[in-house]
Amino acid sequence: MEDYIKIVKNGLWTNNQALVALLGLCPLLAVTNNIVNAIGLGVATTFVLVASNVSVSIFRNQISKEVRIPIFVLLIASFVTIVELVMQSYFYDLYLILGIFVPLIVTNCAILGRAEAFASKNTWGKSALDGLMMGIGFSVVLIILGAVRELIGSGTLFDQSALLLGSLGDTLSITVFDDYQGTLLAILPPGAFIGLGLIVAVKNWFDQIKTI
């Protein structure tokens, strides 16, 4: 039981892939200019993480050490392709926005990193939990960064959520500041770096308070 609690804590906080390991920055910085994009990429990444962790851990005794990396990459790439095709057929509008970033999930080192560091040494149950928690930890950072950038950059929250939820999403979209001119810096890539830096700083600050 203790193991499982540790896995949850690791994924969400202690070893958060985006804030501590600083892995997967390419998609993280590229799509977080609003919440809806962040949620879309977060869900897709979490799914791939769980699927790759489970499949790697199931076959961990069969996969020989010499060829493990190519096999991991093969598995991850297959899952990403499947996610891309499914997204293209059921969330086409979202795919039009996230399209070029979905294949980039393959290059998200967090996924290969968990396959190598965790799934290849643990049972499938633990690996699934690890994948899920790492994925949620990563998604939460995506969503916070997305919210901050959307709010400062364009003055809205949950704009275009119809892309994810259909007509239900229209009621969710909030314009926080009316007649807001927008802050370009927050939308452009430098804003993503600054925002992520601030979130990392806040996390470290919390950790410091706890140890004192």
Partner: protein
């Protein structure tokens, strides 16, 4: 059982590749119709914004043609809009290479009296917050082109205001509106010079 480590590794890779291919192909086969349907719907929606009262299967009758447009040789896609078997407008998909960040894909509709039905941006990489006001969901700027022709405004006025023309540009972004104005103008010039595209000549 296979003993040699290289053979063993090779077999392992082969098995995993085969299984992966199977799953990816299975997903591909079961989603491809839906994806094609989505793509067609998007295109029909886009075309429908420029021309609505056609009765032909506009996607089936699409053809392409090589032309000199925007100072480059490019292959454009042409969708003829017909009513009672008579073509009354053409929607062309073309690339304007000199946006602020490179290529802008445009859909331009021109009717048989050389009038613009309208212009829409399909894809672009202009600056978010500045140049992206050419999208319909950000601003109605691009809707002003419907109904214009080479005599309205006169040819020398087919420029943004800063260059002495009649079109507004955006605060902080002149290059993007200039690109759209120039691209639309050049499509009209192409139609005047070459006449209407014909499916048989290629």
């Amino acid at each position: 059982m296979i003993q040699h480590p290289v053979l063993k590794a090779g077999t392992l890779l082969l098995v995993f590749t085969a299984v992966s291919i199977f799953f990816v192909s299975f997903t591909h086969v079961s989603t491809k119709d839906k994806i094609k349907y989505n793509e067609d719907q998007l295109l029909i929606k886009r075309l429908g914004e420029l021309v609505s009262d056609y009765d032909n299967n506009i996607l089936e009758e699409k053809f392409s043609k090589q032309v000199n447009l925007h100072d480059t040789k490019q292959i454009i896609s042409i969708y003829p809009a017909k009513k009672n078997n008579k073509t009354f407008a053409y929607l062309i998909e073309h690339t304007y290479p000199n946006g602020y960040n490179g290529n802008i894909r445009l859909l331009t509709g021109v009717d048989t009296s050389n009038q613009l039905l309208g212009v829409r941006v399909i894809t672009h990489r202009e600056t978010p917050g500045l140049g992206d006001k050419v999208e319909t969901k950000k601003s109605s700027w691009i809707e002003q082109f419907s109904g214009l022709s080479l005599s309205n405004p006169s040819e020398s006025k087919w420029k943004v205001k800063r260059d002495g023309g009649v079109f507004d540009s955006f605060t902080g972004a002149t290059i993007t509106p200039r690109a759209i104005v120039t691209a639309s103008y050049q499509v009209l010039v192409l139609f005047r010079k070459q006449g209407f595209p014909n499916k048989t000549e290629r």
